[in-house]
């Protein structure tokens, strides 16, 4: 039985979670996640172009895409960082339930200086009185307990650690 450190047991701190509410039809939200045009329209940061090579939308299926720097500033940045200006990436779907639930595994790419590591992602879409609510949950440790510590409650842990280290 894993013992939780003090203050770390509440559900809200278990994972890293982002939540947005959009004034849009739920079908549009689902389409942006699950079509080639949809993904290409928002996935890449400014100055980069994303091209979806293949999309097999079912559990076990893959999404393959290329992300390419297209603006001079980004091309320069990638070159300086010693990285290729284009790179291919693949994610693997683990759950597909239109139009409310999508889960996949994906290497956490595109953070300079960070090695690739598989992260599980879950997207939940629900219609509410205020609009369509979308929550994205990611779990780098593939383990609820650890992510609990690595997520929102982490600063608190660091504080405790700081105290422990300085005492």
């Amino acid at each position: 039985m894993i013992k939780h450190p003090p203050g770390m047991t509440s559900e809200s701190r278990r994972r890293i979670r982002l939540e947005r509410t959009y004034q849009a039809p739920i079908e549009d939200v689902w389409e942006l996640w699950t079509t080639k045009e949809g993904i290409e329209s928002w996935w890449g940061p400014g100055g980069f172009r994303v091209t979806v090579k293949s999309m097999d939308l079912r559990p076990g299926g893959k999404l393959e895409y290329v992300m390419e720097a297209v603006e001079p500033e980004q091309i320069e940045f990638m070159k300086k960082a010693g990285m290729p200006t284009a790179h291919e990436a693949t994610l693997r779907y683990t759950e597909v339930v239109a139009p409310t639930r999508l889960a996949y595994l994906h290497a956490a790419d595109f953070i300079p200086g960070v090695e690739v590591y598989d992260v599980s992602h879950l997207i939940e879409i629900t219609e509410t009185a205020n609009g369509v609510r979308m929550t994205l949950t990611f779990d780098a440790m593939h383990d609820e307990h650890w992510t609990n510590m690595a997520a929102a409650g982490w600063e608190q842990e660091l504080d405790k650690l700081g105290q422990a280290l300085s005492s």
């Binding site: 982002l18 947005r20 959009y22 595109f110 992260v119 660091l158």
Partner: protein, 114 residues
């Protein structure tokens, strides 16, 4: 940051040791008691944590005292912050694209009705 940071902490016993050390420096015997596994197991996990930079050790009399080092935890924290930022920017673009689609649809409807 290296995926080694995650891998080192992917073991539940090592996480228990880390948690036990949050309250401060401890000798192996104290840790054995607190995480309730055999001493050889604790020693083995402490060695792995030490090699990965998570813990430091100092001698005190006949004892060896273990404590946490902040660096790998800061790395982990920086990684989480960077990943969250990446996604916040992505979700901003997601929202913009949703709006663009609706505007395009409204414009088309207007065109059709005129």
């Amino acid at each position: 940051m290296h995926s080694e940071v995650f891998q080192t902490l992917s073991d539940p016993t090592r996480r228990r040791i880390v948690e036990a050390l949050l309250s401060g420096e401890q000798a192996v015997n104290d840790l054995v008691e607190r995480v309730s596994i055999h001493q050889s197991g604790v020693s083995r996990h402490l060695r792995i944590l030490h090699e990965a930079g998570f813990v430091q050790v100092r001698p005190k009399g006949a004892q060896r005292l273990y404590s946490l080092r902040a660096e790998p935890f800061r790395e982990l924290d920086a990684w989480v912050t960077a990943y969250r930022k990446l996604w916040e920017a992505r979700l901003d673009r997601f929202g913009e694209e949703l709006e663009r689609r609706q505007r395009a649809r409204a414009a088309k409807r207007k065109e059709g009705s005129s």
